[in-house]
Amino acid sequence: MTPVTRGEIRQVLRDNARLPVDPESLRDDADLFQAGMSSHASVNVMLALEDAFDVEFPDRMLKRSVFESIDGIAAALQELEMEAKAG
């Protein structure tokens, strides 16, 4: 996945994660929940990612760990992209 996409993920986080810090200041592998994202905010992030990337997270991905870091989100999006291409 390109760095641009990670930038887009940061944009979604900035608008939806209600983090007390700027997502730009977070490393790609930083724990977003540790950084102050609530479970409720992670639901908004999930829905906003679906809109931004035009995907739908399957049930198996609807868990806390998928949305735990920018890397985690990128990996999930990449997996969905691969599945869409294969499908």
Partner: protein, 310 residues
């Protein structure tokens, strides 16, 4: 309208037994029942037992009506987690013409909702909700925080079901702890053991297990998974009827959710953590009836003493 959840065969049979014995009184709507004298006698015994135990451990008693100011519901986050369970109070607004039309349509059992406007009130979704704004309004907490017994208040859940243990309106006896994070966690662990002891003291084969709430929608799956992973919800379970044991009580650890929502400040200015423990009076009565039989006179002496000490 929500489609009623069908009862399993043993749930339907138990419901029929309860109606035949006059313990429950049918209303025509699933999950809404009147109670016979003996049912209420048992329920009041449970209310007294919980009130007495909470009082002995320093709880301050507060009581609230079964209606929540709509604004508090809106501030609580309940609508994002459980939009499907909420009941809001609507009331008539209009003149004589509208009143006449409303009456005509209502008497023909047609739709008269257009004459009804949302009021400032919602049905109480959980008996702990009025406690948070009430405590926040007092200002900063004293060191150690507070422990409140909010009593057995009526609460509403819009989930009609044929299972007599899944009521739309029931008494939820909420104990609420608000304070420093470590104090709140200690309290929850202490009361998990005490709650288990209370139910086992009534001769019920209760077990403690972690659980999750029926959060709404796909986002709700994330919330439920988080709740389980972090052990935020614990339940005290007893087999009544149906394929799984029924939760007679549940603990919720909210971390700083209500502390932030209602701006509850600790003595040092930090955000308070909260936890609550809700006992379902009716479910405890049903578990007792299932375990010890429908005739209260024949319940074990030790159980009777616990319930009707006073």
């Amino acid at each position: 309208m929500a489609t009623p959840r069908p009862a399993t065969a043993d749930q339907a049979a138990f419901r029929e037994e309860l109606l035949q014995a006059g313990l429950l009184v049918e209303s025509g709507v699933d999950g809404i029942y009147g109670k016979g004298e003996r049912f209420e006698q048992a329920r009041l015994g449970i209310d007294a037992l919980l009130t007495r135990t909470a009082g002995a451990h320093g709880a301050e008693r507060l009581r609230f009506p079964p209606l929540l100011p709509r604004r508090h519901l809106e501030d609580s986050g309940y609508l994002s987690s459980f939009p499907h369970l909420v009941g809001t109070v609507f009331s008539f607004e209009g003149g004589e013409t509208e009143a006449k039309l409303q009456q005509e349509r209502a008497s023909a059992h047609e739709d008269w909702s257009e004459f009804q406007q949302m009021t400032d009130l919602a049905l109480m979704p959980a008996a702990c909700y009025p406690v948070y704004p009430a405590i926040a309004a007092r200002g900063r907490l004293a060191p150690g925080g507070v422990f409140v017994d909010a009593g057995g208040s009526w609460v509403f859940r819009h989930e009609p079901s044929g299972d007599p243990a899944r009521l739309q309106m029931f008494h939820q006896h909420e104990l609420v702890r608000i304070g420093e994070p470590e104090r709140v966690l200690e309290w929850r662990n202490e009361w998990a053991e005490r709650g288990l002891a209370i139910l086992r003291g009534l001769g019920l084969a209760a077990e403690l297990d972690r659980a999750s709430d029926p959060f709404f929608g796909r986002g709700g799956r994330i919330l439920a998974a988080s709740q389980r992973e972090q052990q935020l919800k614990l339940e005290l379970l007893v087999q009544i009827a149906g394929p799984e044991p029924t939760a007679l009580a549940s603990f919720n650890h909210h971390h700083d959710h209500f502390g932030i929502s209602f701006a509850i400040e600790l003595a040092d200015g930090g955000t308070a953590h909260t936890a609550c423990l809700g006992f379902g009076h009716e479910r405890i009565v049903l578990a007792l009836l299932r375990t010890h039989g429908l005739d209260l006179e024949t319940w074990p002496e030790a159980v009777r003493r616990e319930l009707w000490r006073d």
